[in-house]
Symmetry: C2
Subunit: 129 residues, 2 copies
DNA sequence: CATGCACCTTCCCTGCGGGGGAAGGTTTAA
DNA sequence: TTAAACCTTCCCCCGCAGGGAAGGTGCATG
């Protein structure tokens, strides 16, 4: 199958598929005589794996590792878990940061009249020494 | 004051200060005879404003607008609030996404033995059709 | 058989918000 | 005078994605 059909099946952009190949996320596709990338059903699975991992927020670096563990039948689940736990920690960190931002923003928005007058607690907060 | 001192006072990188100037976030600094950027105390305040807004997760685009509202004494607080509310919505959106990811990740990590065996619910989840 | 159109190829530019470092000029203190 | 600390511009890189140009290919239709 050509890249367009693969893109269709995986709901990924053809551009992204080429990029993933370039980044070494997926193996280099074989080519037709005219240079078109040729794919099989396996490739659909690989890309869906990548897509699911992306949806969980894994970085490309992590996904590379996860893919190699996936392919490696002698992997230990501890290796997989270690990647997942690192990501878990990063996500938790981000969550905390966003919660802190939101706490402040919610407070500021709540206290801003939002009328025609210039007085504004949001501006005041940003202007604090 | 030179850029280094300003960077010191604002705890920002001199590189970032130049970049902010280039992006039009802050006005172009006047130059000494030898071409060094010259700053005054006002600039400290501007950069601290930018820094605080960054800490709240505002985009550079938003910060540009917030700065111009800050400078504009005939602003309406409604204009400020509108920017803040848009950002509030985006942050809430991000929060929800991360919470959803974390929910799955937490579950997967919890169910993965993390031992020497290859069987792993994390890999299985990513491999799902 | 030719022409058009959808598809494919590579290449470079854009965005965000930074960071690193080279190559060279300036200021200041020893 | 010389060394160091500072400044300048310039281009490179990261992650992750998208846009679009310029040109080759595959296939149905007239």
């Amino acid at each position: 199958m050509n890249i367009g059909e693969l893109a269709e099946k995986t709901q990924l952009n053809a551009k992204m598929i080429r990029r993933y190949e370039e980044l070494g996320i997926i193996p280099k596709a074989s080519r037709s005589l005219s240079g078109y990338r040729q794919y099989g059903d396996k490739d659909v699975n690989v890309l869906i794996f990548v897509k699911r991992a992306r949806a969980l927020g894994f970085s490309m670096k992590d996904i590379k590792q996860l893919l190699s563990l996936w392919r490696n039948k002698t992997r230990s689940s501890a290796q997989v878990k270690s990647i997942a736990m690192k990501h878990q920690q990063e996500l938790t960190q981000k969550l905390t940061e966003i919660q802190a931002m939101l706490k402040t923003i919610n407070h500021l928005v709540h206290n801003c009249h939002g009328d025609d007058r210039p007085d504004c607690p949001i501006i005041e907060e940003l202007n604090k020494p």
